[in-house]
C-alpha cells in the first residue's frame, strides 16, 4: 500500500475540500470513495498491475483519483496534457503504452486498449520491485523529448513527513514534475487543490480572488505576464501568501518589481528536474535569487561551476536515451551556479551561455536589464556565431506599443551600455510580434545557430 500514509490523511479530513474544480468542491470523503471506485474499475477492465497506462488529462477530480488508483494498482503512469497534443502519438509509442485512459473536459473517463507491449528493461526492473512508476517527458526545447522513468515509491517518500498546507492553484501542469509535486504535496497534507482550466493571468488571478488562494506555484515568465497585463490591479490578491517560481532563471528585475508591488507575498524559488525530482528549497529573502537547496534524500555538489545532484528519488533512467548519471550516481544538471556558504545562485544553462571573446554572458542577466526598460513586453537573449569575437549577444524583443525599430534598438542598446560591460550589450536587437513563451509558461529559447 504505497499511499497508505496519504489515505490516513484523507480519512482524518473527510469533510475537507480536496479539490475545487469548475467552482465545485470535492471532499476528501468523495476522493476516498472515488479511489475505491477506480480501483474496482481497473480490476474490471482487466488492467494488470505493472501495466503502462497513458493518462490523457488535466487536473480534475477524476484525474486526481485515477492518478492515486493507478499508483495503488502498481501501474506505470504516463500523464499527458493538451500542451503536448501534437506529440501524444509519439510519446505513447516511446512509453509503450498498453492502456489509454482519456479524461475529457467534462471529467468523463474512457478506457482504451493499445497495441504496444511494454517490454523495456527498465519496466522489468520496476516490476521486479513491485513498485508503481511514472514517466515524465522533458520539454525538449533543446532536442528530442526524453522519457524519464521514475519509481514512484521514491518520489512519494518525501511526502511522508507532514507539513503545513495552503490553498494552492495547480498552475504547473499535470504531466510536469512541478505539477505532480504540487498535487502530491497538497494531498499528503490534507490541503485543497484549486484547478484552473485557463492559465492566462486574468483567469488565474480571478481564481485567486474567488477561492481565496494562498499559494501560487508558477514560473518567471508567468510572473512577468502578471506584471505586464496589469491583471493584478483588477483582482483582490490579499489572500495570497506565497508565490513560488522555478523551471527557468528568474530575471532579477522581474523579481524586484513583483516584490515592490506585493511586499506581503513571500517569493520562494523552487528547483527541480524531471530526472531527480524537486528539491526542498529556501530563498534567502523574497527579493533574493540566492537559494538553499537540498533536503532529505538530496545531495548537491558543484564541479567546474556546474551543479550536480544525487537524489534518492532520481529516475531509473530514460526509456529513449543512455543513462545520464555518473558511475556513482550523480546527475550533472547543466546549470551554472554561484555558491555562497549554503546558498546557490542559478545563473542559467551552460548550453545557453554565450562566450564573447572568452567572456561569459548569461542570457538571464541581459534579459533582466532589457526587461525593465520602458515599452518592453518580453525578451529573449541568445548567442550567434561571429568570426571576430567567437559569438555575439543578440536579443529578440516584443514591444508593448508600436515604436520605430531603429529608434527602439538604439534606445535599448544605450540602456544596456549604461549598466553592462560592453561584451554583454546586445549587438543585434530584432523585434517580434508573437509571444515567445511555451504552453508551460517558459521562455522558448533559441539555440545559437551557425550563420
Amino acid at each position: 500500500m504505497t499511499i497508505e500514509f496519504m489515505l490516513d490523511v484523507f480519512r482524518e479530513s473527510r469533510q475537507r475540500e480536496a479539490i475545487l474544480w469548475r467552482d465545485r468542491a470535492y471532499s476528501y470523503g468523495w476522493l476516498l470513495e472515488r479511489l475505491a471506485h477506480w480501483q474496482a474499475a481497473l480490476a474490471e477492465q482487466a488492467v494488470p498491475p505493472g501495466a503502462v497506462v497513458i493518462l490523457e488529462a488535466d487536473f480534475s477530480p477524476n484525474a486526481v483519483a485515477l492518478f492515486l488508483a493507478l499508483i495503488e494498482h502498481n501501474c506505470v503512469l504516463v500523464p499527458l496534457t493538451p500542451s503536448v497534443e501534437a506529440k501524444k502519438a509519439e510519446f505513447t509509442e516511446t512509453a509503450q503504452g498498453e492502456v489509454r485512459i482519456v479524461i475529457d473536459e467534462q471529467d468523463r473517463v474512457r478506457f482504451e486498449r493499445l497495441p504496444y507491449r511494454a517490454d523495456h528493461p527498465l519496466y522489468a526492473e520496476l516490476r521486479r520491485r513491485g513498485h508503481p512508476g511514472l514517466i515524465l517527458f522533458s520539454s525538449g526545447s533543446t532536442g528530442k523529448n526524453k522519457a524519464a522513468l521514475h519509481d514512484l515509491t521514491g518520489i512519494l517518500d518525501k511526502f511522508r513527513v507532514r507539513r503545513q498546507t495552503k490553498r494552492t492553484i495547480t498552475f504547473l501542469l499535470y504531466d510536469h514534475i512541478g505539477g505532480v509535486n504540487t498535487m502530491l504535496y497538497i494531498l499528503s497534507n490534507g490541503g485543497t487543490i484549486i484547478t484552473v482550466q485557463d492559465r492566462s493571468p486574468e483567469a488565474v488571478l480571478a481564481a485567486v480572488e474567488k477561492h481565496r488562494v494562498e499559494m501560487l506555484p508558477t514560473s518567471p515568465t508567468f510572473i512577468n505576464l502578471i506584471l505586464l497585463s496589469e491583471a493584478y490591479k483588477r483582482y483582490d490578491l490579499s489572500s495570497l501568501q506565497t508565490v513560488t517560481y522555478g523551471t527557468e532563471p528568474m530575471p532579477e528585475s522581474t523579481l524586484k518589481r513583483f516584490h515592490e508591488l506585493f511586499p506581503h507575498i513571500t517569493l520562494q524559488q523552487t528547483y527541480g528536474l524531471s530526472e531527480v525530482g524537486i528539491l526542498r528549497s529556501k530563498s534567502k529573502s523574497s527579493d533574493s535569487l540566492w537559494v538553499k537547496l537540498g533536503g532529505e534524500g538530496f545531495e548537491t555538489r558543484v564541479v567546474d561551476g556546474i551543479l550536480h545532484i544525487r537524489a534518492k528519488s532520481a529516475m531509473l533512467g530514460y526509456l529513449n536515451a543512455p543513462s545520464p548519471f555518473t558511475e556513482d550516481g550523480w546527475f550533472v544538471t547543466g546549470d551554472e551556479v554561484l555558491v555562497d556558504g549554503e546558498y546557490f545562485r542559478i545563473l542559467g544553462r551552460r548550453s545557453e551561455l554565450i562566450n564573447v571573446g572568452g567572456e561569459k554572458v548569461y542570457p538571464a542577466e541581459v534579459e533582466s536589464v532589457l526587461q525593465e526598460q520602458p515599452n518592453v513586453a518580453e525578451v529573449t537573449v541568445y548567442g550567434e556565431k561571429n568570426p571576430i569575437t567567437g559569438n555575439i549577444v543578440c536579443a529578440l524583443v516584443r514591444l508593448k506599443e508600436p515604436e520605430d525599430p531603429k529608434a527602439a534598438a538604439l534606445r535599448l542598446k544605450k540602456a544596456c551600455r549604461a549598466v553592462l560591460p560592453a561584451f554583454k550589450v546586445p549587438v543585434k536587437i530584432e523585434f517580434v510580434d508573437e509571444a515567445m513563451y511555451s504552453e508551460r509558461y517558459k521562455k522558448i529559447r533559441l539555440r545559437p545557430s551557425p550563420r
Binding site: 571573446g357 568570426p387 571576430i388 538604439l410 560592453a422 549587438v427 543585434k428 550563420r451
Partner: protein, 99 residues
C-alpha cells in the same frame, strides 16, 4: 548600385555607431577612418557592432542579407575591415556578386 552609394551607407552606419558608442570609441565620419590596428579607436567588439550596423543597413536598402564578417573576409590577405573605405568596397563586392 554605385560604389559611392555603398560608401555613403557605411558612413551612415558610422554615424549610428557614434550615437551609441562610448566617447573614446566614437569615429570620425570619413572614408579614411581606420577601423583596425593601432590607429583605430575601435576594439573588436566595436568593430563587430559597426559591421552588424552595416549589414542591417544593406538589408534595409537592398533587401539582401549579407554576412560581411565570415571566413572569407577573415582570410583575405588585406583585411576588408582596415578602414571605412575598404569596408565599403568589400560590401560593394559582395553586393555585386549577389546580384
Amino acid at each position: 548600385m554605385e560604389k559611392e552609394e555603398v560608401l555613403a551607407l557605411v558612413l551612415e552606419a558610422v554615424e549610428e555607431w557614434n550615437q551609441q558608442a562610448d566617447e573614446e570609441q566614437r569615429l570620425e565620419v570619413s572614408p579614411e577612418t581606420r577601423l583596425l590596428g593601432r590607429n583605430s579607436k575601435l576594439d573588436s567588439l566595436g568593430l563587430v557592432n559597426l559591421i552588424v550596423l552595416v549589414e542591417e543597413k544593406l538589408a534595409d536598402r537592398y533587401d539582401v542579407h549579407l554576412t560581411l564578417a565570415d571566413e572569407r573576409a577573415m582570410s583575405q590577405e588585406r583585411s576588408p575591415f582596415r578602414s571605412v573605405q575598404s569596408l565599403a568596397e568589400y560590401a560593394h563586392l559582395l553586393l555585386t556578386e549577389k546580384k
